[in-house]
């Protein structure tokens, strides 16, 4: 059985039945952590020595695609933990940090989050202001983070903070913070347009002490560490866009075959059938860009351009396809109970999270030496 078939079977049996309730209650179904961990779906791309499940970025992309077909909100939760936060622990953690913090994340025993964004610094990572001031054998963290996915459910949070004055490129350090630590608290869950089953919070650091042994990687090298880990994050988000578009196509095709107008199924009307064919083509093109980015990264080649293109294109395709699918459904698509309304709402954030469309275009323009 191919890996994609295993992911598809897992999602159909274990995820899809939970979507309606999770969206309604705006809560991630916690039982999924261990189930995904047992199935080896939380440690893809990590070697077995650190508790990983083997595989590569392409397998992570395939999983992301299949999860996002069911629900973006459910998908993003484990994807952030294992494939956006955990890579920082793996790439830059010491062996003891990997044992204590990485291994339990890769098996679903613990949840991780990555906290970089602040109220006044998103794409501009170098502009963060949360400060880490040396204190005894460690640092005191002071400031806030915003829009942090898994903020309220994470056990382990990788936090970016300023550790020196001047240019942010050479003054950021990442730290490992544990939930429940003194001086660390989370705000109320933020209500969002989409991704309803994911947890998004403000994180508040009020003189939160972090020992020097919880510095992740090198002091003042955090900016570069964050930039390196962005590549994986972008492939995951792009793959989620492909999965979302695929789900919209499946739902729209089924609906168009069944729904009649002017005495025949609307799938026989040129306006609809051509739109569906367009959706299909766009989605396939996005999928190939995503797979290309993953394959290049897996081969150790420079994937910067491919990743930026995949993220930009797949996010835009997801939005276009979701919009077209609502149009296929007509009035029914405007109802929350339609299978496409959730995807329509979930699509929008894909053009923002993990580097906006504009950031991807800037990366591409720079690579063109403009």
């Amino acid at each position: 059985m191919a890996f994609q078939a295993v992911c598809r079977k897992f999602v159909e049996e274990q995820v899809t039945p939970l979507v309606a309730e999770a969206e309604e209650k705006q809560r991630f179904p916690t039982s999924l952590w261990r189930r995904m961990g047992d199935a080896g779906l939380l440690g893809l791309g990590f070697p077995e020595e650190v508790g990983g499940a083997g595989g590569d970025l392409l397998s992570v992309a395939i999983l992301s695609e299949e999860l996002a077909k069911a629900s973006g909100g459910i998908a993003i939760t484990p994807l952030v933990s294992s494939y956006m936060a955990a890579p920082h622990l793996y790439r830059f953690g010491r062996p003891d940090q990997m044992r204590e913090y990485l291994a339990p994340v890769l098996t679903g025993h613990k949840v991780a989050a990555i906290a970089v964004t602040e109220p006044d610094a998103g794409s501009d990572v170098a502009g963060i202001t949360l400060r880490a001031t040396p204190e005894g054998d460690g640092y005191l963290l002071r400031g806030t983070k915003l829009f942090i996915t898994n903020g309220g459910i994470a056990d382990i949070i990788v936090v970016a903070a300023k550790t020196a004055g001047g240019d942010g490129h050479h003054s950021i350090t990442t730290f490992i913070v544990e939930a429940g630590q003194p001086g660390f608290s989370v705000g109320r869950p933020l209500r969002k347009m989409g991704w309803h089953s994911s947890d998004t919070r403000e994180l508040i650091f009020d003189d939160c002490f972090v020992g020097a042994n919880r510095v992740l990687g090198e002091v003042n090298r955090g900016f570069y560490q964050i930039m390196q880990a962005f590549q994986e994050e972008r492939v995951v988000l792009a793959a989620m866009g492909v999965g979302l578009a695929e789900a919209c196509i499946e739902a729209s095709v089924a609906y168009a075959r069944h729904r009649k107008a002017f005495g025949r199924p609307i799938s026989s009307l040129q306006a609809i059938r051509h739109s569906l064919a367009h959706m299909r083509t766009q989605t396939e093109a996005a999928r190939l860009l995503v797979y290309q980015a993953a394959v290049l990264a897996d081969a150790g080649a420079d994937a910067a351009q491919a990743t930026a293109m995949a993220k930009l294109f797949a996010a835009q395709v997801a939005n276009d396809v979701a919009d077209r699918s609502v149009q296929v459904f007509g009035g029914a698509g405007f109802l929350e109970e339609s299978p496409v309304a959730m995807h329509y709402r979930d699509a929008r954030v894909l053009r923002i999270g993990g580097g906006t469309d504009e950031i991807q275009l800037e990366i591409l323009a720079k690579l063109m030496n403009l």
């Binding site: 059985m1 890996f3 295993v6 079977k9 897992f10 047992d38 199935a39 080896g40 779906l41 893809l44 077995e48 499940a53 083997g54 595989g55 397998s59």
Partner: protein
């Protein structure tokens, strides 16, 4: 115990077709591991995980493409697989099949052999019984719970009146239902590992089985005829134009079914 064998079957995936000439199932299309056998494998793997066994072997008889299903068994965690594939075995009924499986099990001598209750294609649900008879081993079917004891097995058998709790000496044969466990998902690591695990393909000759005792000649059953089920007669289809409920109600009322 050192060895648990699981007998598995490669069954057609999705729609089944019967070849009208041979009156046999067309096994040329895509196939998959029989769903009940996933439960059997899971139970064997749990015994091994709990250090109750050192080796799990998947055993099957089928066409060459049945090795797909054996790879799935290996990916789930079985240590090795044995496939008996021989043109002379094609067309075997359950008695003939039981001779082949018993031949493999006689060679392997596992302490415990687990079957899924039935196959999704033939739904025979007697193969385990025939195999146990040929090997002269105790057999219990409809097993929903299994505990390994010292040289013995305690099982719960589901019946229409309640559960029987049975102790049986090892070696033994059991057939499990899908209520016994929830099969694990194949992990990517398992899939990679499966490629390196031994999958042995045997002919009847290599197993020392007389070809005339299996296949069509060795089978005691003959399919005389095949027919599609008779139609249900005239039916009425009601499309919902906003009055479907009333129409169904009046249909039932007219026939005094309400």
């Amino acid at each position: 115990m050192d060895k648990v064998a699981v007998c598995v079957k490669h069954v057609p995936d999705g729609r089944m077709r019967i070849d009208p000439d041979s009156k046999r199932m067309d096994r040329s299309g895509p196939g998959e591991l029989n769903a009940f056998d996933l439960n059997a494998l899971e139970e064997a793997l749990r015994i091994k995980d709990a250090a109750g066994a050192t080796e799990v072997i998947a055993v099957s008889m089928g066409p060459p493409q049945a090795d797909d299903s054996l790879r799935t068994a290996l990916a789930m965690g079985a240590d090795r697989a044995v496939l008996v594939s021989d043109p002379d075995a094609a067309g075997s009924d359950m008695l003939a099949t039981s001779r082949v499986l018993a031949g493999v099990l006689d060679r392997e001598r596992p302490q415990l052999t687990i079957f899924g209750q039935q196959a999704s294609d033939g739904t025979g649900a007697v193969l385990w019984s025939a195999v146990a008879e040929l090997l002269q081993l105790p057999v219990v079917s409809q097993v929903t719970e299994l505990t390994v004891l010292e040289g013995a097995l305690r099982v719960k058998r589901q019946t229409e009146r309640g559960d029987d709790v049975i102790e049986m000496p090892l070696p033994a044969v059991v057939a499990v239902t899908d209520a016994i466990n929830e099969p694990r998902y194949v992990s990517l690591r398992g899939q990679m590992a499966a490629k390196r695990k031994p999958l042995e393909t045997l002919t009847l000759g290599e197993l020392g089985i007389d070809p005339s005792s299996v296949g069509v000649t060795g089978s005691m059953t003959t399919v005389l005829n095949l027919a599609t089920p008779p139609s249900r007669g005239s039916s009425i289809r009601i499309d919902d134009e906003g009055h479907a409920a009333e129409e169904i109600l009046s249909f039932l009322a007219q026939r005094e079914l309400l």
